[in-house]
């Protein structure tokens, strides 16, 4: 024993002499580009945050008070609340190297279940809302099992589920809309997220607050729990994660189920936003959520990005939408700008990936 000890000590003694000068060369060698790359690596939400601040400042200068007022700025938040919530779900899935094309459909189906269970079957709204969440979770579970256990590509699974869920939504709802007045009279809880707090001109709906809380909670979970680290590891390299001791299947299924639950939350927020329960609402939420995620610097190749980035991505789209509308330009300019941002964001992601080795 004593022999091992002394030899170990000798071994370490040699090291302490060597380590000192190696530790020095790193800061000198790091160029500006390298440190930017490193900063983006560690915090990929920096770029969308930068673009967001720049665009807010830009429109503020051009449009003045019309844009830079508490009312307009909080209007943007209200407009992106639903996309923001769905983008959080989308982010989780994309972090695992997947994609969820069924988010919009799950959202609408959940909202329809919440509405129809209350009005068709006379469920108390609390219970109907729970049923809506259960339906969202079930859709997510089906996605997750097909992806993780049956090992089908996420794109195909969720493309199929998109059609299935959307069709179920129309079949089940018989394409009928539940009117806002009826909900207000009989089940105001369904419109919970439409309520708002006002501070002067600023209007914060509960939907906006829900989005912010959701983003904060998910940011914490992804960064500070083992499950969060596993989500990144699975997206980064699923085989490596498996060998390192991550239960990949469980992680994947839990991600899709959570995504379904968040979509159900988005469905509830949707009722608050539009007032009624409509099976045709939120047609573009799918593609808008993916847009927000990509502009938010989350890599479609998995393992990189943050929920905060997705929120910034959604806000960037919202800022451009409102800003360009206030300027009186053709709305097509908004789409053109978004297209440019998407391609730029992916190009940037590729650059970050091509790191120094």
């Amino acid at each position: 024993m004593s022999k091992t000890e002394s030899s170990t000590q000798g071994y370490e003694g040699g090291l302490s002499a060597g380590s000192a000068d190696v530790a020095q060369f790193a800061p000198e060698r790091r160029t500006i580009v390298k440190s930017i790359q490193h900063a983006l690596h560690v915090n990929p939400a920096l770029i969308p945050l930068f673009i967001l601040s720049l665009s807010v400042a830009g429109f503020g200068i051009i449009l003045g008070d019309r844009f830079f007022s508490p009312f307009s700025l909080t209007l943007i938040l209200q407009q992106v609340a639903i996309v923001g919530v769905v983008a959080a779900a989308q982010t989780l899935v994309i972090l695992t190297k997947g994609i969820d094309l069924s988010v919009g459909a799950i959202m609408v189906l959940s909202s329809v279940v919440m509405g129809q269970f209350t009005f068709r079957y006379g469920f108390p709204p609390e219970l109907a809302i729970l049923c809506g969440f259960a339906v969202g979770a079930l859709c997510g579970l089906i996605n997750g099992v097909l992806v993780a256990v049956v090992k089908l590509p996420p794109f195909i699974v969720t493309l199929g589920m998109w059609q299935i869920v959307l069709a179920s939504n129309f079949l089940y709802s018989r394409n009928e809309t539940i009117r806002s007045q009826d909900i207000q009279a009989d089940a105001p809880l369904l419109q919970f997220f439409g309520q708002s707090l006002r501070f002067g001109g600023a209007v914060l709906t509960f939907g906006v607050i829900a989005m912010v809380i959701l983003v904060a909670v998910l940011t914490y979970v992804l960064n500070n729990t083992a499950w969060g680290r596993h989500v990144y590891a699975v997206g980064d390299d699923a085989d490596a994660a498996q060998l390192a001791g991550v239960r990949v299947k469980r992680t994947l299924i839990s991600v899709y189920v959570l995504s379904g639950l968040i979509c159900a939350l988005a469905g509830w927020v949707l009722i608050g936003r539009i007032g009624s329960v409509s099976p045709t609402a939120g047609q573009f939420t799918n593609i808008e959520s993916i847009t927000a995620v990509v502009i938010g610097g989350i890599s479609l190749f998995g393992g990189r990005g943050s929920i905060l980035g997705a929120l910034f991505g959604a806000l960037i789209v919202g800022v451009f939408g409102l800003g360009l509308r206030l300027m009186g330009t053709d709305p097509q300019w908004t789409y053109l700008m978004i297209g440019v941002l998407i391609i730029a964001a992916v190009a940037l992601d590729q650059w970050i990936r091509r790191v120094s080795t």
Partner: protein, 257 residues
């Protein structure tokens, strides 16, 4: 108590009509570096996977410290103290060194935050990771939170070995640790392997590189056609002899213990 820390008897593994392991034996003594060499397709990987729990053999038994064990997964083998460094290293490139070292066995904070909110104890994990790396002479890595993909091949190998050394209480298995490395980096990794032995950990080293094998190994297990063709002392045989046994051009007459 058995003489061998890890032992396998009569392992058989078939893939369809291909017999990858044909009643293979394996013995690892305490505190030694045992090299496993063999031509491509000889069944080295299958043998190692059977020992590390990545594959379940059809027949035969594996004994750890003389006790029969049955690993159903790499996790089970790891829980028993057998750590494996795979050729692809099983690291997540975008995650930090500390994240990688504790992947799958993260440490949670004490008390309320850890119990209720499952908060990770990043401080402790960073500290343990740094301690482990410096213990193994890998202080060239300055920032424990830097992503693994910013490291060189040798440094990555170092992180993987450090992870195995940190958690492997009984055996460390290294699969081709120097295959993708340059001369200098290989040297570093060989030093790491010798360091593991110095700390009393037995090492199983799978390698194609004869000079490396002959330099560090105490004994060499030569695998051929799904079974152990010979177990030799590197002092008694030359490298070309070993290659001859490996390819079947020669048989080992005396199996030195």
């Amino acid at each position: 108590m058995s003489e061998f820390i890890l032992e396998a008897k009569g392992l058989v593994k078939r893939f369809g009509r291909v017999v990858a392991l044909d009643s293979a034996d394996f013995e690892l003594k305490a505190g030694e570096i045992l090299a496993v060499i063999g031509d491509n397709g000889a069944g080295k990987s299958t043998l190692i996977k059977s020992l590390s729990g990545a594959m379940i053999p059809d027949e035969g038994e594996v004994l750890l410290n003389g006790e029969r064990v049955m690993f159903s997964s790499p996790m089970a083998a790891r829980a028993a103290g057998i750590e494996t460094v795979y050729q692809n290293l099983a690291l997540s490139p975008a995650l930090s060194i500390a994240d990688n070292m504790f992947m799958g066995r993260e440490i949670r904070k004490q008390g309320f935050m850890g119990r209720v909110f499952r908060t990770l104890d990043k401080k402790t994990m960073d500290k343990l990771a740094r301690d482990k790396l410096s213990e193994l002479g890998l202080m060239t890595i300055q920032n424990i939170r830097q992503p693994v993909e910013t490291l060189s091949g040798g440094q990555r190998q170092g992180v993987a070995v450090a992870r195995a050394a940190a958690f492997g209480s009984r055996v460390v298995i290294l699969d081709e640790p120097t295959a993708a490395l340059g001369v200098k980096e290989s040297r570093k990794v060989l030093d790491l392997i010798l360091g593991l032995r110095e700390r009393g950990l037995p090492v199983v080293l799978i390698s194609h590189n004869m000079p490396h094998v002959f330099e560090v190994a105490d004994r060499i297990h030569i695998h051929r056609l799904g079974r152990r063709a010979a177990l030799i002392n590197p002092g008694d045989y030359s490298m070309s002899d070993a290659v001859a046994i490996m390819t079947g051009a020669m048989t080992a007459h005396a199996v030195a213990a």
